[in-house]
């Protein structure tokens, strides 16, 4: 083929602009129709991928500077080694692999397919058998009918298809099986294209998101055409105290109607209209709790009374008094800005939990004060009375961290994987075998049998199979 394309170029250069373009095209085509290129690209991808595991990916630039020095870091940034698998040159390698597969599939495989489909028309040539490395000739003593029968039978037993040619002075038999094995590599290559296309679809049209959702809250779906409510979140434990599983119960609400409720856990996402919602995180809200446990102090007593419960946003009577309290605020890590007098939480961690409570006496508001869990009594809860309140404990409002993912390419990738599996079965475990036999009379009740064959791989088992076949033709049975 190289010679042909060179001739073509010389001819076309005289032809001017359009054919010069054609020449370039054929040069590119020629470049990608190369198996050396395949090896080069495969090995380059391997080496580059190793580089990506050695240089840690997607770290802050400063950490590379600290580790590798300024000069290397410049190179790392310039060549995008810090995010290598998305760098232009890594993508270029993938594109080259793709083009390589496409061009090879168009250029190399059709001739193979043609010859495989037309194999029956090939002329039977007894001399061919002598040229095969495993070709052999042996003499069989038996009647004409039984020799002919044995030849048919042995191939049937071994699962071959058979064609018989009657020739002058004898007859020939062509037997074959496992043609599909030759197509295994084509299946595999096409499957690779599918997988690459699938991953590109994901990159181009996929959506990846993350959302913390408090128990009882509702969120919009990424597409906006339905809503999702978190009904419950809880953690399962083993007896040893290790975490067994994180669970959420999610309800899909569409047009105001609940259409689906499902419990999800790590490894079991909710799938709805192309989008998956994964259990991927959890935590306690920093600005809200489910309920607080408060306790009453009487002045002069050295112990508090038994704690009572106040639910978020609700009022509760303080046992043994005329007062009631309402829980109106919470901060996990209390923070107060002197200038703006703003209150809040500096972190999501419960380092310094505080609740804001309103105290009422019947219908009359008495006070509104902050109760610190760690510093009881620094602000009197009910000024000017004989009572005080302590913030003993609380039950947090948990949120569930959901990863949200919509990747329209995933199914294409799976389809590709299945085709690849099929391709492997054909390529590695189905062998294309062809066997030729020529039988000619050599004397009274004596036959000259020539036998030989070809297999596209696994020569070792084939040698034995040919021996078996020859044995059967000689004796009418397999040697055990």
């Amino acid at each position: 083929m190289p010679d042909k394309s060179k001739k073509g170029q010389a001819h076309q250069i005289e032809g001017g602009g359009a054919s010069r373009l054609k020449t370039l095209g054929s040069k590119v085509w020629y470049f990608f129709n190369s198996l050396k290129l395949t090896l080069t690209v495969l090995i380059s991808l391997a080496v580059m991928s190793v580089l990506g595991t050695v240089v840690e990916q997607n770290q802050p630039i400063a950490s590379y500077a600290a580790k590798y020095g300024a000069a290397w870091t410049k190179l790392i940034v310039y060549m995008r080694v810090y995010d290598m698998y998305h760098s232009w040159w890594f993508l270029l390698l993938l594109v080259m692999l793709t083009l390589n597969i496409v061009v090879c599939t168009f250029e190399r495989f059709p001739p193979k397919w043609k010859s495989l489909l037309n194999h029956k028309k090939d002329k039977f040539d007894p001399k061919l058998i002598d040229r095969l490395s495993n070709g052999r000739t042996f003499i069989v003593e038996a009647t004409a009918v039984s020799v002919r029968q044995r030849v048919q039978e042995v191939f049937k037993k071994k699962g071959y298809k058979v064609m018989t040619f009657d020739e002058a002075g004898g007859y020939g038999v062509y037997a074959w099986k496992g043609i599909i094995g030759r197509f295994g590599s084509d299946f595999t290559h096409i499957s690779l294209l599918l997988i690459l296309i699938g991953s590109m679809l994901g990159t181009a049209y996929g959506y990846k998101g993350y959302k913390d959702l408090n128990v009882g809250s509702v969120m919009d779906s990424p597409s906006g055409d339905y809503k999702l409510r978190l009904d419950k979140f809880w953690i399962d434990y083993y007896d040893s105290g290790q975490i067994r599983q994180y669970n959420s119960v999610l309800t899909v609400i569409e047009d105001g109607k609940e259409v689906l409720t499902k419990q999800i856990w790590v490894n079991e996402p909710l799938y709805y209209k192309g989008t998956r919602f994964y259990q991927s995180n959890y935590g306690a809200a920093w600005d809200k709790i489910e309920q607080a446990y408060l306790a009453l102090y009487r002045k002069g007593a050295d112990k508090s009374e038994k704690p009572f419960t106040v639910k978020w946003g609700e009022s509760a009577a303080v046992p043994g008094t005329r007062y009631s309290v309402k829980l109106t605020g919470y901060a996990a890590d209390f923070y107060y800005d002197e200038k703006t007098r703003a209150m809040g939480s500096i972190s999501a961690d419960p380092n310094n939990p505080v609740v804001l409570v309103e105290v009422w006496e019947g219908k009359k508001p008495v006070s509104s004060s902050l109760l610190f869990q760690k510093y009881p009594g620094i602000f009197p809860a009910i000024p000017g009375s004989n009572y005080d309140l302590a913030f003993v404990n609380y039950r947090p409002t948990l949120f569930s961290g959901l990863s949200i993912n919509n990747d329209p390419g995933t199914n294409v990738v799976w389809a590709g994987s299945i085709v690849m599996g099929l391709g492997f079965v054909f390529a590695f475990f189905v062998y294309h075998r062809r066997v030729w036999v020529f039988v000619a009379a050599s004397g009274e009740g004596e036959w000259d049998v020539k036998l030989g064959g070809m297999i596209n791989k696994n020569q070792l088992i084939f040698d034995r199979e040919l021996k078996d076949i020859a044995g059967f033709i000689s004796t009418g049975k397999f040697r055990s």
Binding site: L35, K36, T38, L39, L42, I43, L45, A46, S49, V50, G52, T53, V54, E56, Q57, Y85, S185, S199, K208, Y238, S240, Q242, I243, R244, Q245, Y246, W265, V266, N267, E268, P269, R276, Y278, S280, S403, N405, D407, T410, V413, W414, S417, M420, G421, F424, V425, F428, F429, K457, N458, Q459, L460, I461
Partner: protein, 297 residues
């Protein structure tokens, strides 16, 4: 957790590998048929016993026995043993068994010497509990839903069968190199003379890779399916994933060099050695050297 049964079977297997290695070696040296028959019988018994290590381990821990380094080593040994016996049965070469059984013995020895934290059967963390719902439903009828397996188990199992096939190919490649050198020199030592000829070793090495490659591929894909359930993405370029891809690419290069460019013999053997170095790094190196999401296998 009590692990009496699995420990007992482990000890059995361990000793049997040792004895089997001796018989294979004896067969190699003295070429007595009965020695070879005993060796093969021992290899089958050890296979059974190693199977029982995995089974009893599963029964004791309540999950598939592929969850730590120790268990994965036993699985590795088991798969190599199985692969070897298939090869011995199909191709009737026994001498190679001396290598295989010795390596199996050493692998079991190193598994038994692992520090406790790589051995103890821990309950599975949330991400590792992947089960096929259809299987859970099916087994529930028999009250056995506890024994359901899932993508993760399938992933580890197929990957390790792949590793085992590559290990066998590695051994064959080394033998090929030795044999080829002595064939070329014309002078063969008594030991080298007994192993199959270089052509056969080369071909068998390729057959082993022809098994390993699909299994590794299924392992990678099933890992991706699992990751898609557990992490929400089927591929995240985590070091273990990346190394599995590297290994896969090297063996893909091997196949193409062989099938399309006619690389056989020495050059193919060298690629197979490089491939197995990648496997070793994939199995042990990544876990201990590189940071990532995969704890062990």
């Amino acid at each position: 957790m009590k692990m009496i049964m699995s420990l007992m079977f482990f000890t059995f297997s361990f000793s049997f590998y040792f004895v089997a290695a001796f018989f294979y070696l004896g067969f190699w040296v003295f070429k007595k048929k009965w020695l070879g028959q005993c060796a093969t019988a021992l290899a089958y018994i050890t296979l059974l016993s190693t199977t029982m290590v995995l089974v009893s381990r599963a029964a004791e821990s309540g999950h598939a026995p592929f969850s730590n380094l120790y268990e994965s080593m036993v699985l590795f040994v088991w798969a190599i043993n199985l692969g070897y016996l298939v090869m011995e049965y199909r191709h009737k070469f026994k001498v190679i068994g001396a290598f295989v059984m010795t390596i199996e013995f050493v692998a079991m020895l190193s598994a038994s010497l692992l520090p406790y934290k790589f051995k103890s059967a821990e309950p599975l963390n949330p991400a590792l509990q992947s089960k096929w719902n259809w299987l859970v439903d099916l087994l529930r009828h028999a009250g056995l839903e506890k024994y359901a397996i899932g993508w993760l188990d399938f992933h580890v199992f197929t990957t390790f069968v792949g590793y085992a096939a590559f290990a066998i190919s590695f051994g064959l490649s080394i033998m090929y190199m030795l044999k080829d050198r002595s064939e070329r020199r014309g002078a063969q030592g008594a030991f080298v003379a007994a192993v199959p000829d270089a052509y056969t070793l080369d071909e068998l090495g390729y057959r082993a890779i022809a098994w390993g490659f699909p299994f590794l591929s299924v392992g990678i894909v099933s890992g991706a399916v699992w990751a898609n359930y557990a992490w929400g993405t089927y591929w995240s370029w985590d070091p273990k994933e990346t190394w599995s891809l590297v290994t896969w690419l090297i063996y893909a290069a091997y196949l193409h060099a062989r099938v399309t460019r006619g690389w056989r013999g020495r050059r193919a053997a060298i690629l197979s050695l490089i491939g197995f170095i990648a496997v070793i790094f994939l199995y042990w190196g990544v876990s201990f050297v590189l940071p990532g999401l995969h704890a062990y296998a």
